[in-house]
């Protein structure tokens, strides 16, 4: 395995009595498209937030490129937060101006090309967009960055099928000519399972299965089947 870009060692994070991460041990390999999968509340967003330096673990270690995560490591990470929205008074073009000014590695031309491909009007205000259009604009803000790691936390949540397909198409096109490590979390894998070549299955704050997606498929069938098998108990409750 190549050197991991992000590692979690026995990481625990509590919110009051709720245990969001419970001794999480996982290493994210470089250059892979990693699916962080699991049901709602299994700790996916806490994993992303810890890697982006937004939250600090109560116990254990998180390392990004071998360093403690924080604003310094965020120069090399493009992060789409969970349920993130954008400033409603800005247009898409102004949003790209913001990206160009504040996000290292932001490629304006690439962003405009992606916007055209995803049918996003640069002159449109975010406040006048549908949730699907807004989600596409925010995805572009992330994937138009030439940085080693891209982290997309639930990029398909609450989005209509058309936007979801546009986002997946945009991701596939983007991934063709990049060698970035990409982490994508989702609790609904049907349309996206073909994207992942490495999978981390999470449940109750732990990684319950980690490895090459092909191995997982060979062992259990499609990711959708794996999902149903591993979380059967979760669904029965």
């Amino acid at each position: 395995m190549t050197e991991p870009v992000i590692t979690f060692e026995r990481v625990t994070k509590r919110y009051g009595k709720k245990l969001a991460l419970d001794g999480l041990d996982v290493a994210i390999p470089a250059g892979r498209i990693v699916g962080i999968l699991g049901p709602n509340g299994c700790g996916k967003s806490s994993l992303f937030r810890a890697a982006a330096g937004l939250i600090r673990p109560d116990e254990g270690n998180v390392r990004v490129f071998g360093r403690e995560p924080g604003w310094q490591t965020n120069r090399d990470i493009a992060y789409l937060p969970d349920r993130a929205r954008w400033y409603p008074n800005l247009t898409v073009a102004q949003t790209f101006d913001w990206g160009q000014t504040f996000l290292p590695g932001f490629d304006r031309e690439d962003a405009e090309r992606l916007a055209a491909a995803m049918e996003i009007d640069p002159d449109m205000k975010i406040g006048g967009m549908s949730r699907g259009q807004e989600a596409r604009a925010l995805l572009i803000l992330c994937i138009a960055r030439d940085v080693p790691v891209v982290m997309l936390d639930e990029p398909f949540a609450g989005i209509d099928v058309v936007s979801r397909e546009a986002i997946i198409a945009g991701l596939i096109e983007h991934l063709e000519d990049r060698s970035q490590t990409m982490l994508i979390s989702t609790h609904d894998i049907r349309e996206v399972e073909g994207l992942f070549d490495y999978t981390v299955m999470m449940d109750r704050g732990r990684a319950i299965w980690t490895g090459d997606t092909e191995r997982l498929r060979a062992e259990y069938g499609s990711l959708h089947d794996v999902f149903r098998l591993l979380y059967r108990k979760e669904w029965k409750r």
Binding site: Y15, R49, A52, G53, L54, I55, R56, G70, W71, Q72, N74, R75, I77, Y79, P81, D82, R83, A84, R85, W86, Y87, P88, N89, W98, T101, F102, L103, P104, G127
Partner: protein, 255 residues
Amino acid sequence: MIRSRTFWALVRHEYRMKGSWRKSGRSALSKWWGAVYLTLIAAALITATTYVAVNGWLQFEEMWYLALGAPYMMLFVGHGMIKREWENDSYGWWLALPYPRTWLVVAKWIAGWLRVATVIVAFAVLAILYAVLITVCLPHYKWADVVRFLEVSGDWLALLVGVCPILLSMGQLLAVSAFTAARPVSPLLWVLFLGGMGMLQGQLGGWLGEDGQLVSAVDRIVSGWQWIPAVAAGWLAAGCLAWLSAYLIGKKLDL
């Protein structure tokens, strides 16, 4: 050099930023009514002031009494600039920016200061123009009254500029405390800060001189020897509070 350019770009972004999803959810009708009410209040204020002026009862400097509400405006500007990130669900973007948390907090602080200064200077300019207009139109007002008003305006501007930084920082800390491990002390901070401001304003009566005029009290405050050290101490305290806010969002976020 590039990094400092980025910092000032952050300040510019914060200064220009307006609107929120909560406000954009309001109907056009409610926005229209909001504008109508604001216009009516402004018209009522101008009419009442003009009536008082026509009868010769208006002392121009009394227009600055409106600024007694400014400290609360400063506190809520500081508070609102941080809280807006949560209202807009944009806090994840803001907090993941690859710049020190002190930059993020101080950029909002400077932008807030510029916003408050814009409002106060705009008020001062309009009040001075109004005073000039009244002096031209009404014979019982003299140019000496306008000159006196300009001097008083300088005092008030100095006072407001002096107290603005600490009030902005207090507002920021109030907002930050609500989203961090400091949440349990957040209500206490509200009581402390708002109660303290109320008590200070309540003390204004004790600062009035023999003439009983607030205007001369402000003049005494800003021309006294204690003013500069007091402002310096206030700005230092503001810096400490800004650092505390940055520390809390850097190390103690509760998302």
